[in-house]
Symmetry: C2
């Protein structure tokens, strides 16, 4: 059939041999790009002419594969975010790996829809979820789903909590049919995606009670207990506590054992946002810091952060498979499952979340866990934590830098402080310093504000970083901070 002439068109290449040549060329470029990443600047601004090129109208006519690739090479490839570089520590982002990038090619070639059914890719996802249950010490009968990231994983976990503990058919009747306003608890340091989830679920942001934190940015559990008691007295319906295993600001770890006990006593759902720090469980030397994680009812994970997977790779685990399924399952006639054939199989992932069509994100996780073995991930996590301590020491050793928060995990908040400046001036100085760091291309931390102090913030989820990279960061901060101060003093002298 393949050679039969046909008047019909397809989107396949007309000249497969030429396409194959180009594809190999593209692959070599991509391997070079990863192999040589350390030799390049971390980040550079996107030039105006590139922005203009990317404003042209919708293409009506075809371009050659070569031309399209060339457009990519000239206008996109040179202006990366930078997070694959060894000196990128902004926000909390993994790097990806060359093997996982190849896995994405394999996944897009097979291009299965992971909604459900009897095909190989679905068994890969089942295995990956089983492996994650094993890694995070969940029972074998627990349930899980790969999702886009922790925003979605938290939303799924909180939806299961809401639907399970409402006490009536909330899926059918909605929130207004309940007797009381449902409320949930998290620390003031909880990630904004939990705020967004409370909004989306119709609870409203006021229903998310933000519990104060202690000096080390952990949730104050005495305050949590008082808040629950006050809400019960006031006629609210507490249903869930969100514990954070690694806050986004400072990497603070809530006392998960303590929260688990409160939730058991109070009959509340215990959800853990483990996006940032849950994987510390893989490093034997440090896993005590997330003890209690395994007692949660649901857990959000982000494998594209500290498991170094390319985007997107989040996961939600739910201890009770029936609760998970009952919160989402809905099988219309056109999705009827079958006894045999492609529509066979008991596991339809679409019964466990929002997406019906789902991509094969499991493959990169599967191939990466096999490639390295989980023990190596434990070593890498430990390595990043040691690097955080090393950076902290370097900052402490510098006369002009200061550490701004405890470093329990892999996040270091610090600032440049030459002395003699008020807080407002220091904030402006460090804002300018961060921008110059970015513009220099030397290193990319990001920022946060702690107790009104603007800080540089390095979140070390980077398998390519080495100790010397942190020395380079500290030296650059000292030099660029000094330059800004000198300029400001110069300007002040001129205007005096």
């Amino acid at each position: 059939l393949n050679s039969q002439p046909s008047p019909e068109e397809s989107l396949d290449p007309q000249d497969w041999d030429a396409f194959r040549d180009l594809a190999h060329h593209m692959l070599d470029d991509m391997l070079d790009y990863q192999q040589q990443v350390r030799e390049r600047l971390v980040w550079q601004p996107v030039p105006a002419e590139v922005k203009a090129f990317l404003k042209r109208p919708l293409p009506q006519q075809p371009q050659s594969h070569q031309q399209v690739y060339q457009d990519f090479v000239e206008n996109v490839l040179p202006y990366p975010m930078g997070n694959i570089h060894p000196r990128f520590w902004g926000w909390v982002m993994g790097n990806g790996t060359p093997f996982a990038a190849m896995a994405e090619l394999l996944a897009a070639t097979m291009n299965p829809n992971m909604g459900g059914g009897d095909h190989g890719a679905n068994y890969v996802e089942i295995q990956v979820v089983d492996w994650l249950k094993e890694m995070f010490r969940y029972p074998a009968e627990a349930s899980g789903l790969l999702v886009s990231g922790a925003s979605m994983a938290n939303l799924v976990g909180l939806t299961v909590a809401r639907n399970t503990l409402a006490g009536y058919d909330i899926r059918q009747k909605g929130l207004r049919a309940g007797q009381r306003q449902m409320v949930l608890y998290a620390s003031q340091e909880v990630h904004s995606c939990v705020h967004k989830a409370a909004e989306l679920l119709g609870l409203g942001r006021e229903a998310l009670r933000l519990i104060p934190v202690k000096q080390n940015f952990e949730m104050d559990l005495a305050a949590l207990e008082r808040a629950i008691a006050a809400d019960r007295a006031d006629g609210f319906q507490p249903f869930c506590v969100v514990g954070t295993a690694g806050t986004v600001n400072t990497g603070a770890l809530d006392d998960l054992q303590g929260i688990a006990e409160i939730c058991e006593r109070e009959g509340l759902w215990f959800h853990v946002d483990g996006a940032i720090g849950a994987v510390a469980i893989l490093a034997p030397e440090v896993r005590g810091c997330v003890e209690g994680l395994q007692r949660s009812d649901s857990m959000a994970l982000d494998l594209h952060k500290w498991m170094y997977m390319p985007f997107e790779a989040g996961c939600v685990l739910v201890r009770s498979e029936p609760a998970h399924r009952n919160a989402f399952s809905l099988t219309p006639e056109y999705l009827a499952h079958a006894e045999r054939g492609l529509a066979a199989g008991n596991l339809w992932f679409s019964d466990y979340g929002l997406q019906l069509t789902r991509g094969f994100r499991a493959l990169k996780v599967w191939m990466s866990l096999k490639e390295h073995g989980v023990q190596k991930f434990g070593r890498m996590i430990r390595q990043n934590m040691a690097q955080a301590q090393y950076l902290k020491q370097q900052v402490e050793a510098s006369p002009r830098l200061e550490v701004m928060a405890p470093v329990p995990l892999n996040i270091v908040c610090f600032r440049y402080n030459p002395g003699g400046m008020d807080e407002q001036m220091l904030n402006r100085l460090n804002q300018e310093l961060l921008i110059r760091l970015h513009e220099s291309g030397i290193a990319v931390p990001s920022s946060t504000t702690l107790h009104d102090c603007y800080c540089l913030r390095a979140a070390i989820t980077n398998h390519r970083s080495r100790r010397e990279d942190f020395e380079i960061l500290v030296q650059a901060c000292e030099r660029l901070g000094g330059e800004v101060v000198a300029e400001w003093l110069g300007k002040a002298a001129l205007t005096r």
Copy 2:
């Protein structure tokens, strides 16, 4: 720095040359796999030994790249879902293309986080969204976001509708603070993801009023108007009508002009689920069938369906950028935007949806639209619609097959009916026929149930299908249907 010895480990290949050789070998395999797809069976069941292989515990130690790839080649690659094959028409799924698969490799190599900021990939997504606005005749100042698929796109659109029309700060206060129960409308044929969205948003499935359809499965607009009036009289708060541009069961197209007029008159948000049929707008000969689409307030699209992109590639468009932003924007201190540096730029995609971390799904769309030009997509869509009519004619011409619903778009519902069987028996017969079709590997339609009749259902969103493929399907149905009947008659004779 690259050559400096270091005690620190990374996840990069230790032997780049060997890795490069393997990567090229993988690429050749993937190109062969796509080039030769027509020569293989569409689908085959996953053997028990493969399922057993995919149940082994979490790997502790590393395996070689070769071994991991070999495991993939032996246990995953031979058992595809089948949707890249020319004779796959199950559910509604695109195929992907070789060039888009390469785009996924490029995207995973750069691995940017598309949350926001000043880097090349973000401008690619802005351009793709602009192109989609142009394709679907939305104003230039409209807003949009690439998402995992139409389930998410519908959820985002309905969230904007809910938050915009609540009449109070629903994000802060939640649904219970409203004066009245908010309700929305869609036809009985609306996709299940809209049911799920109503549940998730806390409205409850009862708040989704399912309007009856006419004989051709389009929403009955007179019934819609009656339902809105009755709800207003009963103290409910109507806020949105969901029109469907191509239902999942039969491809029926709601009267979008009519719905637009009702929404304008009633002050309701007009959301279109265009996942299945909105792209008909690209084919000049047929675009009249989705006229009115451009009058909607928001629109859900699925580029991994009838735009043939690999999974995942959905999109939501929202006419009012401020409404879109106001429904989702939330910028905590650790995401502070900046004047210069990487955190610069006005467009933070995380302000427009649920995801904060977002993958570079824009690249495959960008490269594919440049590769083919939008006019070719129009021709492909037209080609699939012509193939649907051809299949309908073939079914009509067969003495033992019958068409079960109108074919306005690209979906054909039909069944095997040898005569003399009651409906229950016909349902069982066609269930068995579908399974045997799958097991034969000849073709993969899926199924649905219309007016209690189980039907085979071919949704033609396949750029590789040719006319002869539909002839093969019809012949296989006749042959396998006859075999089932003969077996059943034989068994009946034996037991008599």
